[in-house]
């Protein structure tokens, strides 16, 4: 099976700021990739480039088999994107939000109604489906946003800090839900998070970004083995993170 993400040497500059300096990524179909890194490392910017929201200043690659710089429309049909500060419409109900999102993907009528009902059940929001989204709690809103991100059954889902601000129970509930969807639909996921235990549990691959560059990547086990000082005691992911998320000059020093 091929890679749903295959990008090389992405760069994004905002004036003088180089938010992404050099990011290359590969994600095999069906896998979950976690992007880790300190605040301001360039995670969200990377996700915005991969989801075609903004264009890279340099770099190239393929998303879902389509050219990142030229076939944005085809890419958008194949991906779902849930931003760090995602936008539900406050004055629409949960159901209406989902229906509008479905219509934006050209799913309408009966098919849309059925799909929306299915998703409301999946994210356990049936009881609040016809309430305005502004009355939702943070966790409910996040679940609605994720449902909106997969309304068109994408192959690849981008989630930018999906569990930030959720209580521990809501977080585990969200993850078991997503794992279910991912398994059922052959969904590949790229997510960013600051919760290391989350990455440890969910990720098939971890990429650590620091100062706009990829500073480490591998399976959780590979990374732990690499950082371990003593082969009898594999390191924890927190030690891996400590090693790579410090001041970027030190991290990159040989």
């Amino acid at each position: 099976m091929g890679n749903v993400i295959e990008v090389r040497h992405l760069v994004k500059r905002y004036g003088d700021v180089e938010a992404v300096a050099d990011v290359s990524l590969a994600l095999p179909e069906g896998d979950v990739l976690c992007l880790l890194g300190p605040n301001g490392a360039g995670k969200s910017t990377t996700v915005r480039i991969l989801s075609t929201l903004t264009r890279a200043s340099a770099g190239s690659g393929q998303i879902a088999g389509y050219d990142l710089n030229r076939q944005t429309r085809q890419i958008r049909q194949s991906i779902g994107y849930v931003a760090q500060e995602a936008g539900t419409d406050a004055y629409l109900t949960g159901r209406e939000n989902l229906l509008v999102q479905a219509a934006a993907h050209r799913i309408r009528g009966r098919a849309a109604q059925d799909r929306v009902a299915e998703l409301l059940e999946l994210v356990q929001l049936e009881y609040a489906a016809d309430r305005l989204a502004r009355t939702y709690s943070g966790g409910m809103r996040r679940r609605l946003e994720i449902a909106m991100g997969i309304v068109h059954r994408p192959r690849l889902l981008f989630l930018d800090e999906p569990t930030t601000g959720l209580d521990p129970q809501a977080r585990t509930a969200l993850w078991s839900g997503l794992a279910g969807i991912a398994a059922e639909q052959q969904l590949s996921i790229l997510l960013t998070t600051h919760y290391l235990e989350e990455a440890d549990q969910l990720a098939d691959r971890i990429v650590i970004i620091n100062g706009g560059r990829v500073v480490a990547e591998g399976t959780p086990a590979e990374l732990k083995a690499r950082v371990a000082t003593d082969s009898d005691h594999p390191a924890g992911l927190d030690e891996v993170y400590q090693r790579y998320a410090g001041p970027v000059e030190e991290v990159l020093a040989p």
Partner: protein
């Protein structure tokens, strides 16, 4: 063969644009409907303007150059147009709300044509602007100011829709470029008075000092007022078609500007 393919793809593109626009209009309508007091204010405000100004300046036509003795009849098309203009100039904050809530970014990652995000809002604004104009015409009618015929009513509504659409697209462009709610509120507050007084909305051009006449001739609000008023008074000539054509060009130019601003917005994301 090639032409057939191009035609087919462009028909498909128009179809996409159309369905996407209806989706966004449906969303907009639901959201507007839930804003308390919005529709009453939208309809009452133009009437307040109409009735206050028509009382205040009742005797103005005696100065000459108004083309009618009834100031209400002279004023109604002007208020119809300026209400629609004002609605358009105040469209920016809605775009900012979509930007701030992340709704714009969400739609930008769907296959919906990006231009829909500007076009659908423009269409929605134009519909509201012409509804406001219709309310003004209806109230003026009730107070005795009769439009010349049904076609003239249509011209008034179209002029209102076009001026609203032009300035709505302009304010979307500013919203996308500056992304600041305060800026857009300042634009809305600033725009109405100068555009109203530096145009033929309230008074005959003949009564203006020369410099104002010149500014007024360049003011798009004047073009719309001109088309609407000559129709209302039954004095319309071929000039109406020129006015409307120029307004269409204005709308088209502002759409291009807003598309450019959307491109800028995306690159700065």
């Amino acid at each position: 063969m090639i032409i057939a393919i191009i035609t087919r793809t462009s028909i498909a593109a128009v179809g996409d644009q159309f369905t996407a626009t209806t989706t966004m209009l449906g969303r907009g309508y639901r959201m507007l409907r839930r804003q308390p007091l919005l529709f009453p204010i939208m309809l009452v405000q133009p009437m307040v303007w109409l009735l206050l100004y028509s009382q205040l300046f009742n005797r103005l036509p005696r100065l000459g150059g108004f083309g009618t003795d009834s100031y209400l009849q002279f004023l109604a098309p002007g208020i119809a147009v300026i209400s629609a203009f004002s609605h358009g100039a105040w469209e920016g904050p809605g775009m900012i709300a979509d930007i701030e809530r992340g709704a714009l970014d969400r739609f930008l990652t769907t296959p919906m044509p990006p231009s829909t995000l500007v076009v659908s809002r423009t269409v929605q604004a134009a519909i509201i602007g012409s509804l406001q104009a219709a309310a003004v015409v209806a109230v003026a009618y009730a107070f005795g100011a009769r439009p010349n015929d049904l076609i003239s009513v249509l011209v008034i509504l179209v002029s209102a829709a076009l001026i609203c659409a032009g300035f709505a697209a302009f304010s979307y462009a500013l919203a996308l470029l500056f992304r600041r709610q305060e800026t857009m509120i300042a634009v809305g507050q600033f725009a109405v008075l100068p555009f109203m007084f530096l145009s033929a909305t309230l008074t005959s051009v003949a009564q203006m000092p020369p410099w104002m006449q010149e500014v007024s001739a360049l003011n798009p609000v004047s073009w719309a007022v001109d088309a609407a008023r000559t129709s209302m008074l039954g004095t319309a000539g071929s000039r109406v078609l020129v006015d409307l054509a120029v307004l269409v060009l204005l709308v088209a130019a502002m759409q291009v500007f807003a598309r450019f601003a959307l491109g800028r917005y995306r690159r700065a994301l």
